[in-house]
Amino acid sequence: MNIHEYQAREILESYGVPVPRAGVASTPDEARKLAVDLGGRVVVKAQVHAGGRGKAGGVKLVETPDEAAAAAEGMLGRNLVTHQTRAGGVPVRQVLVAELTDIADELYLAITLDADARAPMVMASSEGGVEIEEVAANTPERIVRVAADPLIGLSPYHARDVAMKIGIPPDLIRPATTLIMNLYRIFRDKDASLVEINPLVITTDGRVMALDAKIGFEDDALFRHPEIRSLEDPEQNDELEQKAHDAGLAYVKLEGGRVGCMVNGAGLAMATMDITKTAGADPANFLDVGGGAAEDKIAEAFGIIVSDHDVEAILVNLFGGILRCDVAARGIVMGARSTGTQLPLVVAMRGTNAEEGLQILADAGLNVTTVGDLGEAAKALTNVLAIGPAGPNGGTD
């Protein structure tokens, strides 16, 4: 789960990480008032869950409160399109208004989980304020990595080491070490997947400060962080993806595909997507209904696939393990009835209670082609797509 910069900033502040004075505004007038309080010269930043705001006009430096109000007016209530957003962009409901900081140096600092090291990893660079991917590609030697021990945590000497290696001047090593230790506490306390400060700045008056903040959280750990869950902004997400997320389904919409995929297990879901290619079509989505999905969850998954207007056929590939195929079949029937869809289904069901499941589908009178494995699925899909959705088995608009 992602949160807005202003929310991340509040978390940093509550952990004693130095940040510029700032406030959040949802109207131009509020932005003006904040600018007055902050002394006139401020930066106005659109709050969206995406990077690349600067180039997209979502970050404006202004000299007066009136200009701050005008900048806010230009952002609020509109969609911001950056290279990281979906095509139509994402809505801006708030702007962060922050005092301008006089910068002597820009650095990069992040904490994430490194699967190879099996440990939280502090990553830092003397190259801040630019996209870190570029630094990694062009000057990888300028990225410093230090792993923390998961049992004892990050030791202060680790943090000092990082601070020294990215060129923090000797008289600022102590506050920088404290800052890094506090970021690590946030990472662990809040089950973050990423805490990223870009840029971390050294100010001309000799302070170390987080000028921007991005924090992502592990979805699987949100159950123990209601205070984080309450920060969710569903508007920032794709509508279908959000709907799937709310239902506890792993769903990713894929642009340009016409085969809806309903699968259990991420690996099989990817294999099924790959198979649609061999049938000459692209997958419309990734969808893993998960392990112990109940009937209503399967029905919801089916509904989400059907509500994607690009979908011309649905490939169902379920392998009963914890998921029972009879339960899944009842869910599919429920979903098909409530949506009234006539889309052709190609169905592979194997494993736990597969025969019962196929029987339930057969009895329900849906437009189903049953197949035994992925190879057969590809062939059946080719046939179904050649006939088209308006073919002899019933049409759809």
Partner: protein, 291 residues
Amino acid sequence: MGILVDENTRLLVQGLGRDGSFQASRCRAYGTNMVAGVHPRRGGTKFEDEVPIFETVAEAVDATGANVGLIFVPASGAADAIIEQVDSALPLVICISEGVPVQDMVTTIRYLEGKPSRLLGPNCPGLIRPSTQTKIGIIPGNILSEGRVGVVSRSGTLTYEAVVQLTELGIGQSTCVGIGGDPIHGTTFVDVLEMFQDDDETDAIVMIGEIGGTKEQQAAEYIKNHVTKPVVGAIVGQTAPPGKRMGHAGAIITGKAALASEKIRVLREAGVHIAESPAVIGAKMAEVLGR
């Protein structure tokens, strides 16, 4: 010989809720010797009128000599269950639970270092060995056939797909192991490849990987240097969009290595026979075995 389990396997199951009970029952039906259940509020009762249930893992191990632990407890308590089983020195701990907080696993894996227990999973389907009728986990028993091909995979259900293809072509399996799809997990590809290489019941290996991380690269390196048995490999996720679920910093660490095409390249260089599509994993093995 076989790997990980054998006729002396004595299974303990922790987490006997609806799903856990259903799957434990399936394990028994396949032939697995389940000797104990663990449930904090059902101590003193019996599972299916036959298997004693204990309140703690320590009691269960003491009383029954269980030597493999299987975990179905909900994700929020899964790491705790792993630690409880490791503290009872169960040699093999298999965690099926899906959605375990990754930071719990980071700490748990570190705690395991130097302990005598091997962890398989979490978020895995467990393992199954037809020759001794031992099933620990959720892999459907009826799709397997006894034979000499070892299967190892990051995915649960895709493993079943591969097994079905093998079985349909008359190619039986020695042991089938799901290592799990979480970024932080216990037993790795390399661990299982090493076991299959040393296993006199295994002649050839199927390895199924996917996008993300660098575990397949480590496997390729190991295969190149240590595996003499033929390996058929498949990597899924060739149509998956890049960067969809990775945060900035995570994407740097894995980078290009996370791509399906890159994994296929390094596996091929290591001498792995690549199945061009997930539909032809069985066919590729048939070709390699000259059938």
